[in-house]
């Protein structure tokens, strides 16, 4: 999901000049883009050594941390925006982290692979777990330990008493607002407390 159209689509959800915390920031590309294109400041959180190095090479602030240990480093509402781009599906305590996201940030932007995208449904109908460009892993080696759908997150948000400010899908870099649960490989939510 690192293609630039998708990145720009998500970046547009971040108000200019925001103070941003990017959970699972990878190589820091999104933060670097937000700094350059939208005048944002902030930090990335990463667990992986290679990604931490990539961030310092880009000049992006990065804190090496295991997100499953929580966000106790960060005070309530200490960020304008907390990003969780393709991170939620890797977390053991996904529900807690969703709440933490909107505790630390005024708004949280969550993007994750939508398991209900129609090619995935077809695959499961055929009796096999999907292996696609968006979900390129076999069932036995996938790092995606939380497999959910665009519709599932709406239910979880309600359960966790989070406000959904916006939600849509992204497919091939394009915003999908009609039937995103079926038509989009990526699900995006903007949430707040």
């Amino acid at each position: 999901m690192s293609d630039s159209a998708t990145m720009e689509t998500i970046a547009r959800l971040v108000p200019r000049g925001s103070r941003v915390l990017d959970l699972g920031c990878g190589d820091g590309a999104m933060l670097a883009y937000l700094q350059e294109a939208r005048g944002c400041t902030g930090y990335g959180i990463e667990i992986d050594d290679t990604n931490v190095l990539a961030c310092t090479q880009r000049g992006v602030n990065v804190i090496q941390l295991n997100l499953d240990e929580g966000l106790s480093l960060f005070d309530d509402t200490s960020f304008d925006v907390v990003l969780q781009i393709d991170t939620l599906q890797h977390l053991r305590n996904a529900e807690v982290m969703l709440r933490e996201t909107v505790r630390v940030g005024r708004i949280g932007v969550v993007a994750f692979p939508n398991f209900a995208h129609w090619p995935n449904r077809l695959s499961v109908l055929r009796g096999r777990m999907p292996v696609t460009r968006r979900l390129p892993y076999q069932w036995y080696d996938t790092p995606n330990i939380r497999v959910g759908t665009h519709a599932d997150l709406a239910v979880l948000a309600l359960r966790s008493k989070l406000r959904v400010l916006d939600s849509f899908g992204i497919e091939n870099g394009k915003t999908i607002r009609f039937a995103p649960n079926l038509r989009a490989g990526t699900s995006v939510y903007t949430l707040s407390r």
Binding site: V62, I63, Q64
Partner: protein, 411 residues
């Protein structure tokens, strides 16, 4: 790279945190690389307990005289002396050239000994700032240190926030825990209770409290390593000479194994072959039995040959006293509100003397103050010592950070 030590004399009294002052003192230092035209590429390196101003390079004609951070600093190294002007300085009270307890007190013409004033991290930073003044350096591109050196780097950003652009704080802490002070106290008691210490005036008696220094070093050394690395290095291996003696003794059915050097090695036994620890005990409470004992004694002996007992007391005390949050009701975030620079912090997962969670406290306080900070937790097995070793992730990270600083300077 050839290093050349220099010394600078300071006549004016330096007021110390204790209320005392020190005058007519000298600081030993070394510099590497070249100061650029706008004097913006200077990096100050702060040393920890037993290191010195000799940070990088070698002394002309002296083999094995590498500086203590030579793997980190030099031409083409992570802190590249082709790009930066690097300064190493020996702290006041140390025993490597700067004025210390073994020097003469100008007030009474006697060797300071135990009367050397207690110096703190803040005092050292003030002395370092005077050195930079004399060198014509108003602003540091970065200040960097590990362990106690990291405390000085942190303190720089609080005492001289306008003079530091970046701080690189490695394997450090915002203060010492009770356990950490406890280790220091055991080391100090070992020295002070050595009959050769003479209340700190042993120079007058022509002796050195080597027994105390050895034990202090042995304790320190244990805390710098991790359990895993110690086990990997030494495990339960018996000291080869000892076990060979024991083996010979058991063959000869002798009840008196004698000192380790006294036995005869079994035929064909190589000097360096470690004998498995099965069935070869000396059954002695005082001889060196295990390899780790031999190692610690060796480290202790080496240390007692070159380190000053009063310096050990002073420097461990400086560690104990450091606590920037103390003046702010223990609130580190409030204390670091003054910090003006950007930060890189690094810790090592197996470092239990300056544990990652201590570095995270600093990170949190900086985050609370919205400072630019990056933090890496290197998964290295070597304990506290890791900050001096060649972990490629660690070295690459520091390199990338200094590359960023260099770009900033050039911009």
């Amino acid at each position: 790279m050839i290093a050349a030590p220099q010394s600078m004399h300071f006549a004016a009294a330096l007021p110390l945190q204790s209320g005392a002052q020190i005058r007519d003192y000298a600081l030993s230092f070394e510099t590497y690389g070249r100061l650029n035209a706008d004097r913006s590429n200077a990096v100050l390196i702060c040393h920890a307990l037993n290191a010195s101003h000799h940070v990088a390079g070698v002394y002309a004609g002296q083999d094995k005289s590498d500086g203590w951070w030579d793997n980190m600093i030099g031409p083409g190294k992570p802190l590249d002396t082709n790009k930066f002007f690097v300064i190493g300085v020996n702290n006041l009270g140390s025993c490597f050239g700067s004025t210390g307890p073994m020097h003469v007190n100008p007030d009474n013409g006697r060797v300071y000994g135990a009367d050397f004033p207690v110096v703190t991290v803040e005092d050292w930073v003030n002395a370092q700032a005077r050195l930079l003044d004399a060198l014509g350096i108003a602003t540091l591109a970065a200040v960097m240190g590990g362990s106690l050196g990291g405390m000085q780097a942190l303190s720089w950003t609080l005492q001289y926030p306008q003079r530091v652009r970046h701080a690189v704080v490695v394997a450090s802490a915002p203060n010492l825990t009770a356990e950490n002070i406890a280790f220091n106290e055991v080391a100090r008691r070992a020295i002070v209770t050595d009959p050769d210490f003479h209340g700190g005036h042993f120079y007058d008696h022509g002796v050195i409290p080597k027994r105390g220094l050895r034990i202090a070093r042995m304790i320190g050394h244990i805390t710098y390593l991790s359990d895993d690395v110690m086990n990997e290095k030494f495990g339960r291996q018996l000291r080869s000479a000892v076990s060979k003696t024991a083996a010979a003794a058991s063959v000869g059915a002798s009840s008196d194994a004698g000192p380790p050097q006294g036995g005869t090695a079994p035929p064909g036994g190589g000097e360096d072959t470690l004998v498995p620890s099965v069935g070869a005990y000396l059954y002695s409470t005082q001889e060196i039995e295990f390899q780790i004992e031999s190692y610690l004694r060796h480290q202790g002996d080496k240390f007692a040959e070159y380190f000053d007992a009063n310096t050990y007391l002073l420097i461990t005390r400086a560690l104990d006293y450091f606590d920037p949050a103390r003046d702010h009701g223990g609130d580190l975030s409030q204390a670091l509100a003054r910090a003006g620079s950007k930060f890189l912090l690094v810790s090592f997962t197996t470092d239990w003397r300056f544990a990652p969670k201590r570095s995270r406290e600093i990170v949190k306080a900086l985050l609370d103050n919205r400072r630019d900070v990056s933090y890496a937790e290197i998964d290295a097995p070597h304990g506290h010592d890791a900050f001096l070793l060649d972990d490629p992730r660690y070295l690459a990270l520091v390199r990338s950070y200094f590359d960023g600083i260099f770009k900033e300077i050039a911009a």
